[in-house]
Symmetry: C2
Subunit: 208 residues, 2 copies
Amino acid sequence: MTARISTQKKILNAAETLFSRDGFEQTSLRQITQEAGVNLASVNYHFGSKKALIQAVMARYLVVFMPVLEEQLQLAEQQSELKTEELFKRFKIPLAKLTEVNKHGPDIFLRLLGFAYSEIQGHLRKYTQQEFGGVLQHLLALLKRANPHLSEQQMFWRLHFILGAAVFAQVSGQALIEIAQAEFNQKVNAQDVIDHLIPFVSGGLEEA
Amino acid sequence: MTARISTQKKILNAAETLFSRDGFEQTSLRQITQEAGVNLASVNYHFGSKKALIQAVMARYLVVFMPVLEEQLQLAEQQSELKTEELFKRFKIPLAKLTEVNKHGPDIFLRLLGFAYSEIQGHLRKYTQQEFGGVLQHLLALLKRANPHLSEQQMFWRLHFILGAAVFAQVSGQALIEIAQAEFNQKVNAQDVIDHLIPFVSGGLEEA
DNA sequence: GCATGATTTAAACATGCGTTTAATCTAATT
DNA sequence: AATTAGATTAAACGCATGTTTAAATCATGC
């Protein structure tokens, strides 16, 4: 007995597939509704607008990801010694949790996040800022404690470089992963990319 | 006696201003021709298409930048010891050369390059790959020599992270620069960003 | 000073987008 | 079985985009 899937869920599923593959702006409502097998107008009926649909797609992951990340940061805070790489590694736990949303949740979420930042979607940036703001402030405070040798300015720029490296890796991700797989003859997924990314950004951040 | 500026140049100038500020996709031909004070159809008359205009805008900088970069890499190659940070610093010379094209040439070019990679403009990626390909291969070879402790895979990913950090810094650049200026009360330009970027990517690349 | 080819112009074209409308269908309630 | 609120549908709307057309204008060589 296959459970009937509501139109809303069909739209969300199709949207996240296409958004994570092609980006938000590059994906039209017509593509989404066709993929979902529903009528074009149903997006506006159920979600109000494309903007709202995008936020709904993000929300399914954020509500899982954010609390677990905050939890991890609090655990880190209690440790006697704060190491940069340790802090970044903490991201892996909330990320892994996303498999509960979708088998490929971690990959999808990271790519969505990448597009959210790389496309100049004012509204999405505001939205994630709003949702992420507190936790990111927390992370920043911990990184400062772990790297007291860095000035405010150095920290400011390096954090944004890190964000850029992470975002870019995800957005160019599929193409890069395909190249990497062809070149090194082994399966690569988003988690592997993270494992490569962590030492890189840790080294970059700590550099004198 | 102000020399008469050809329609083509007017278009190129207006286009590079708007492209570097808002990106390629976000800038319409109507905006460009209005800014340039020329007729809408003149873009297609003189350049054939928007794609071709974008490439023409890039070409003005690439033809200056690329030979100087290649020259610098050859100089680096002759040195006895190759240091990572040394290699990245070499980018500053061809970049500075771009002031000959435009007073703010370095800033403009970096932002254009950022958009070229961050927007999924297949044609532009192919174009830059085609133009840059050889020189980038050269850079990769030198970086490998400077970092023999890194595996092929580590090098592959870290190079792309570096690209991401650099691109992102430029694309989010203006917004970030404004934040930084407000926060630290000092003028910031693209060159300063590069100066922050170089130790970061060097540290990240070298990390064991 | 005219003819000719290059350029500029205003207008229209074709396409794709997000959104809205109004009619129709569905399913639960009375 | 009739009513009614919710969901779905096909169609159109309004707008913006890159591109093309065909006429008008300009500049150049004879």
